[in-house]
């Protein structure tokens, strides 16, 4: 009986401490968002156009964002590599090069953090007016699906079966961190969704765990956690693969919200 009593007390104490921990996690996470907003609002270039978007009508803001998007695409057209332009107003993702639209893909779905609706035009320009570049990417598929073969006696064409890496069912997802502190999640949805669904879950859960782990580490050191505003694009897995393989390791990206 005594043993049970001690165990119960220990469980209660641990439970209480965990609850406190959860509360801290929530408070610090919200503080992280506020801190990010405060830092961005304080940027000198963001201050130049620091008017409240609610003080102008929505048409003005749409025009403002369209102009910014066109300017960004013109800047990107001067680069030598393939780049991505994402137009949320028309639900389109485009691969472009030298100003030429190579492929235009309709998004199945998209969502982005409320953060992007709350930023003022100055911060919007700070984040998206210049060339935004991908810093790092983590994906479920390889960029170049290279298979190594030793010199053989039969050339590939005469073989009856040709390895087709494209028709293989695989989950196509990737996460890219941009140099402006924004995170993009690309979710490929297959026609045979069940084929890659468990891999998809494992991928996104591992991403969530990494994020939570990092936040907990920062909170443990009594620091406000870094907040990376997120954008999630849902495409068909074929389109997602086409875009992923077409883009260079560190592509430029342009957005229109």
């Amino acid at each position: 009986m005594r043993k049970w009593g001690v165990l119960r007390r220990v469980a209660l104490v641990i439970g209480f401490m965990l609850l406190i921990g959860l509360l801290f996690y929530a408070v610090f996470s919200v503080a992280g968002v506020r801190q990010k907003m405060k830092i961005l609002n304080g940027q000198s270039d963001a201050q130049l156009l620091n008017f409240d978007p609610l003080s102008v009508d929505s048409t003005y803001m749409e025009l403002f964002r369209e102009k910014n998007w066109l300017e960004t695409r013109l800047i990107l057209s001067k680069t030598d590599s393939i780049y991505l332009s994402v137009d949320f107003s028309d639900s389109l993702v485009q691969l472009e090069m030298k100003g030429v639209v190579l492929v235009q893909i309709e998004m199945l779905d998209f969502k982005y953090d409320r953060f992007f609706n709350e930023i003022n035009p100055g911060v919007y320009l700070h984040l998206f007016a210049t060339q935004v570049q991908v810093d790092s990417t983590f994906s479920t598929i390889e960029k170049a699906p290279v298979t190594v073969k030793k010199a053989a006696h039969v050339s590939q064409e005469t073989k009856s079966e040709v390895p087709d890496t494209l028709k293989r069912m695989e989950a196509v997802h990737w996460v890219s961190w941009l140099d402006n502190g924004v995170r993009i999640n690309i979710e490929g949805v297959g026609t045979d969704f069940s084929a890659g669904s468990w891999r998809s879950k494992v991928f996104w859960i591992s991403q969530d765990l990494q994020k939570i782990g990092k936040t907990i580490r920062q909170i443990s050191a009594f620091k406000k956690p870094d907040y990376y505003p997120e954008i999630t694009l849902v495409l068909t897995d074929r389109d997602a693969k086409t875009i992923f393989r077409a883009l260079p390791e560190k592509p430029f990206v342009g957005f229109r919200f």
Partner: protein, 238 residues
């Protein structure tokens, strides 16, 4: 021993066992509930809070509206029209070809108008290793290219890897065994660095990534592309 003590003595072991099970059950349910709480807290509640008005209390902005000069709607509209026409001018006015190496498809355009599309074959991404020092990776390069030359009845001058791949000794540079006739189809468009758009004998593999870096098309598509693209036309490969 009175009757009560006797009763407890008889029933306590049974009651204690069921209590244990009950306690274990309650403990387990509490633990599961706690785990569900933690998971939903991290994955649902906190992300919701981070997107709620809790996180977006308007900060005290140092907005001096008198100093902020915002362009007028008409100014922005004019600017958009100017930028749009600038962007439009970047698309070639003549014919150009766009090749998708992931899907192994091509699209032929004249200006913004799509005039033909179909399947093709591009690089296989096979890395052929002869030894530790010598290897070739068969991929179609990505980027923008120009048609540097146009050929009819092209002859394939087999590079070293073609012999290595078949396990044959590599002949001297201009040996007659290097030249194969009729394998590249009726036409070829030279993109430079040894990369061609040409025809193929292996039509069943069109739409698959099987080539050594060149782009293969069927005879009809190739003829159309050959006739449509002038020398100097752009070829975009992604």
């Amino acid at each position: 021993m009175n009757r009560k003590e006797q009763f407890l003595d008889n029933h306590e072991p049974v009651q204690s066992g069921s209590r244990k099970i009950l306690r274990l059950g309650i403990g387990l349910a509490a633990a599961i509930g706690f785990i569900i709480l933690i998971v939903s807290w991290f994955l649902l509640v906190v992300p919701w809070m981070m997107n709620s008005s809790l996180a977006f209390k308007k900060p005290a902005m140092n907005v001096n509206t008198e100093e902020v000069v915002t362009p007028s709607v008409q100014n922005i509209k004019d600017e958009i029209a100017r930028l749009n026409s600038k962007l439009e001018r970047l698309t070639p006015g003549g014919s150009y070809l766009v090749i998708n190496t992931t899907e192994n498809t091509f699209s032929l355009y004249r200006g913004k108008q799509l005039i033909r599309e179909g399947v093709c074959s591009t690089g296989s991404y096979v890395k052929l290793e002869l030894d530790h020092q010598t290897s070739w990776t068969f991929k179609t390069p990505k980027g923008v290219f120009t048609v540097k030359g146009k050929l009819t009845n092209p002859v394939w001058r087999k590079p070293d890897w073609a012999f290595v791949e078949e396990g044959l000794p590599v002949p001297p540079a201009d040996h007659h065994s290097r030249f194969e006739y009729g394998v590249l189809g009726d036409y070829a468009l030279n993109l430079g660095n040894g990369y061609l758009i040409h025809g193929t004998l292996y039509k069943r593999f069109l739409g698959l990534p099987v080539t050594h870096g060149c782009v293969r098309m069927n005879d009809e598509d190739l003829e159309m592309v050959y006739q449509t693209l002038p020398q100097g036309a752009k070829v975009f490969i992604y």
